[in-house]
Symmetry: C2
Subunit: 278 residues, 2 copies
């Protein structure tokens, strides 16, 4: 078990993890460094964080688990800085929602660093909206190296499982292709769908269906830029596949090929029920 | 106020309206004819329907409000049959989710018939899933003719307002363009999105975001065929607009035009907040 967990960055993701640790393991020491002093003040006021050391060496030196929960662009640099400060037994994970870039650039840190994507979120952001319930049932995807120490990987998986998450392992590239398909492309697609609601008469008729379809477009646009930057190839490939599918539907409707259209719609419904059994 | 309401067809939409009337106005007589005797037996068992006359003349002859709640393809023929049976003071409405075809083909019935689209639904179908709460806050779009008797239109609007719905008026073509944009295209789009989740590794990572984005794909495929048939022009135009928007996003990402991409994503978020204030 970890005795001290250190956070670099503390937004919705880091904050929710901190809250879950605080609730499940009240005796674990939680330390953090954040870009904003307001964030840190809030986290201390809330009793979420006990230690706010002045530098990375003090933050990471005696931590068993170090969590890089900054915006994704900053993770490689923080990893470079924190790695030499961390003890040989420490585990460093990140929370970036794309993995290949970070993980492939950090092979030399494999004795301590394991890529991680905690797959939860909310339309809201910031530590103020942190909620330990977001971890319940959430996938925590780990993307270990071949030479990742197995005991470290097991320890960190067990730790998050005890917090209610569902850890799993996969390759960084497989992860990125999967999240492009089931998270990143659907986000850009929701933003595109909203362009169809371009006048008041249309907006007046929008109901709960359109609300569901576009919910993910409430995400922070900066998150959108992050994924466009860091998962570009897979996002573009997914956007192209989606357009190909839409063209296919367009053809079936234009040509009035209703039996084939029915098959398409039924197959999609079956796929959804495989993922989300009723 | 209406003393007797007659339903032709009684699925989720008709059934939910019947339930809402039953709860709000226990003394209103409710009559119905349905294709399936099981449906009718269920509705009678549930106390939803009191009268099950053997022909349309008995059903409609003394009804103040006649609701055509069959699949959309059957509405014109039932309207033709029921119109001469209905008294001069009666109002006939339909519940079809596309309007131009039905309404433009029924101008000669304008003294009694008013096109209507009750904008509620559920992934579930059938009278067994009827729920009066579905009417709460739901748009009921009326598409009157120039020569629609104003008192009839007002009476029917007030009636549904009292049941918790939000009635409004628009042209049949304007309605069809609007629902293509905010309901029909999002449905086909959700079916297309599910094709991206084409293997188990991807499905294993799908979470609540993908669940929201694809919820409407649970709708009955036959509803999809209905809208493809009856709102073909607007659906095709919407699918093309959506592909154009996706191509635009693809270009912005390919060329790394991040400030423009940020504007796009932010504008979409703003549009959503106009529709669904937080």
């Amino acid at each position: 078990m970890f005795q001290k967990v250190a956070f670099i960055g503390l937004g919705l993701i880091g904050g929710s993890i901190a809250r879950a640790i605080r609730e499940k393991y009240p005796r674990v020491r939680l330390a953090a460094r954040t870009a904003s002093t307001q964030t840190l003040a809030y986290a201390c006021d809330q009793g979420l964080i006990q230690e706010t050391p002045g530098n990375l060496a003090l933050l990471a030196g005696d931590a068993d688990l170090i969590i890089l929960a900054t915006p994704i662009e900053l993770i490689p640099e923080y990893l470079r800085q924190v790695y030499p400060c961390a003890g040989p037994g420490a585990v460093i994970i990140d929370t970036g929602s794309t993995k290949a870039r970070i993980v492939e650039g950090a092979k030399k840190y494999a004795d301590k660093f394991i890529g991680c994507h905690p797959m939860f979120g909310s339309e809201k952001s910031g530590v103020q909206n942190a909620d330990s319930r977001l971890l319940r049932g959430a996938r925590f995807v780990f993307t270990p190296y071949k030479n990742t120490p197995e005991p470290k990987l097991r320890a960190v998986q067990q730790f998050f499982k005890a917090l209610g998450a569902r850890p799993c392992r996969t390759g960084a590239r497989e992860h990125d292709a999967a999240v492009a398909a089931i998270s990143h492309v659907p986000y850009f697609n929701a933003a595109a769908l909203l362009r169809l609601a371009d006048d008041d008469a249309r907006r007046a008729l929008a109901a709960t269906g359109f609300q569901s379809c576009t919910r993910v477009a409430e995400s922070d646009p900066d998150w959108g830029l992050d994924i466009a930057r860091t998962n570009k190839k897979e996002v573009l490939s997914g956007l192209q596949t989606l357009q190909k599918e839409l063209r296919c539907l367009e053809k079936l409707i234009t040509r009035a090929q209703f039996p084939a259209l029915r098959c398409y719609l039924e197959l999609s419904r079956q796929t959804r029920r495989k993922i989300y059994p009723q």
